[in-house]
């Protein structure tokens, strides 16, 4: 996987060479984020080529977000209570065959250290089922990006650490929780441990009424990086949108985990 992240970065560089839940926290480990707004990395496609692409500012209601990604220990409790999500029982419709592959058995983690590491190799279906069982949801992409944007605090530092993380080889297993400091909202480890599922992970892979023959919007890259991006210098933002757009809901990647949200979406 060392080469995987490097090749992801390289591929993106090549591509872009041109250019109803309560808002109260329901878990000790959640924090409440205030209402605000968020401008997605990508502009909506203009109705016609000559019109300027509109900025699609998204209004964000106050919502709660897990301070940390969900751990193996927490996910173990979930599959213990919900047998249909165990490794031996999961249907391939919901997760392909790398599901929970780092575990040593249906109800056994690799070792004690794994308890405090983020769970990985979980599909969107499994992540969403976990959050629902907790009375929560996966955060929307807008909520997640709003959390990492942190109201503009330490923007350059976050981008720098993101790039450093992208450039590192993937470790054999993800780092344990708590290696990063909390941001201004009190949220930790949004970058540096694992990529994270969002409720609408591929929503921004669409363009308004797109007639793209591939069904996804080619204008997001190359010329799009300059013309379609709201901030062409936000390379980590581009990477996150590209990563999410490449996922399918039953994928179970080694470096994708999740956290849950509650409240307005």
């Amino acid at each position: 996987m060392q080469q995987a992240r490097a090749s992801l970065v390289a591929a993106a560089l090549v591509v872009c060479a041109a250019a109803a839940f309560g808002a109260e926290p329901s878990r000790a480990g959640m924090v409440l984020l205030p209402a605000g707004s968020y401008t997605p990395f990508l502009r909506l496609k203009a109705p016609n080529a000559s019109a300027p692409a509109p900025l699609n500012v998204v209004t964000i209601g106050a919502f709660s977000l897990d301070v940390e990604p969900v751990t193996n220990a927490e996910f173990l409790d979930f599959v213990t209570a919900h047998p249909e999500w165990r490794r031996s029982r999961i249907k391939p419709l919901f997760a392909e065959d790398r599901y929970l592959r780092r575990w040593s058995g249906d109800l056994a983690l690799a070792d004690a250290e794994a308890r405090n590491e983020p769970v990985t190799n979980v599909s969107w279906f499994a992540a969403e089922a976990y959050c629902r069982a907790r009375g929560a949801r996966l955060p929307t992409t807008a909520q997640w990006e709003y959390a990492v944007a942190d109201g503009g605090r330490d923007r350059d530092g976050v981008r720098e650490r993101s790039l450093e993380w992208f450039a590192e080889p993937n470790p054999a297993r993800p780092p344990a929780l708590g290696s990063g400091s909390a941001n201004g909202y009190g949220v930790r480890d949004l970058i540096g441990l694992v990529w994270e599922w969002t409720l609408d992970f591929d929503a921004y892979a669409t363009a308004a009424e797109s007639r793209d023959p591939n069904g996804k919007d080619g204008a997001l890259v190359c010329g799009g990086a300059a013309a379609g991006a709201t901030d062409p210098t936000d390379y980590p933002g581009f990477m996150r949108f590209s990563m999410r757009a490449s996922l399918k809901a039953n994928y179970t990647a080694d470096n994708v985990g999740f956290r849950c949200a509650a409240g307005a979406s």
């Binding site: 419709l93 009424e209 007639r211 080619g218 997001l220 996922l247 990647a253």
Partner: protein, 195 residues
């Protein structure tokens, strides 16, 4: 270059995901674990009748997602489905179902879906228009690999995907994009009908 194809390479390197093994089909056997009909979501059709996804089984299904007020892409999707319908081998029409799932859990009431069907002259003995709550829609879209989001102007941005399901609910072919030919989907459907 297209984002999708560029990203496919990226995704393969990053994820090294493997395709699920194909499920074996046996008459009377339980659903394949890959079947879409493992989703237990509940839907309501254009006549207000409650429909479980699994009740669609037994015949090949040509399925797509859209919404009634969609001005551009959805008419093209439905037109493609109607083209497939029109080019079925003689005598096989009753052996195929056509299902249109709406993203719009609020505006697309059964009455509105009925109007939509009538407006397009769809034969409701073989066509079905289904709506459900947002959770069911999101889950189905995930399973069908249809990307969508509310566009903030009362509509939805979404990808154009027409899926062919076999009688057990396995996705056997997907046509992507409104400029794609439906020839390959039709040919695959004919193969299913010959089995």
């Amino acid at each position: 270059m297209k984002l999708r194809s560029m990203l496919a390479g990226v995704a393969l390197a990053l994820i090294a995901a493997s395709a699920p093994a194909g499920a074996q089909e046996h008459a009377g056997a339980p659903l394949p674990e890959t079947s879409l009909y493992n989703l237990d979501s509940k839907w309501v059709n254009q006549d207000g009748a409650r429909i479980a996804l699994s009740s669609l089984g037994g015949k090949p299904v040509v399925a797509a997602m859209g919404y009634a007020d969609c001005k551009d892409m959805c008419p093209a999707i439905v037109a493609d489905m109607m083209w497939i319908d029109k080019h079925l081998p003689p005598g096989t029409a009753s052996r195929v179902k056509f299902v249109f799932f709406t993203f719009d859990s609020v505006a697309d009431t059964p009455e509105r879906l009925r109007l939509y069907a009538d407006g397009h002259g769809l034969d409701l003995s073989r066509w079905m228009l289904l709506g459900a709550d947002d959770d069911a829609v999101r889950e189905l879209a995930a399973a069908l690999d249809v990307a969508y989001r509310a566009n903030g102007a009362g509509g939805f941005d979404h990808t154009a995907v027409i899926s062919l399901l076999d009688g057990k609910g396995d996705i056997v072919f997907q046509q992507r994009g409104t400029q794609a030919s439906s020839d390959e989907l039709l040919a695959t459907l004919k193969t299913l009908l010959e089995k």
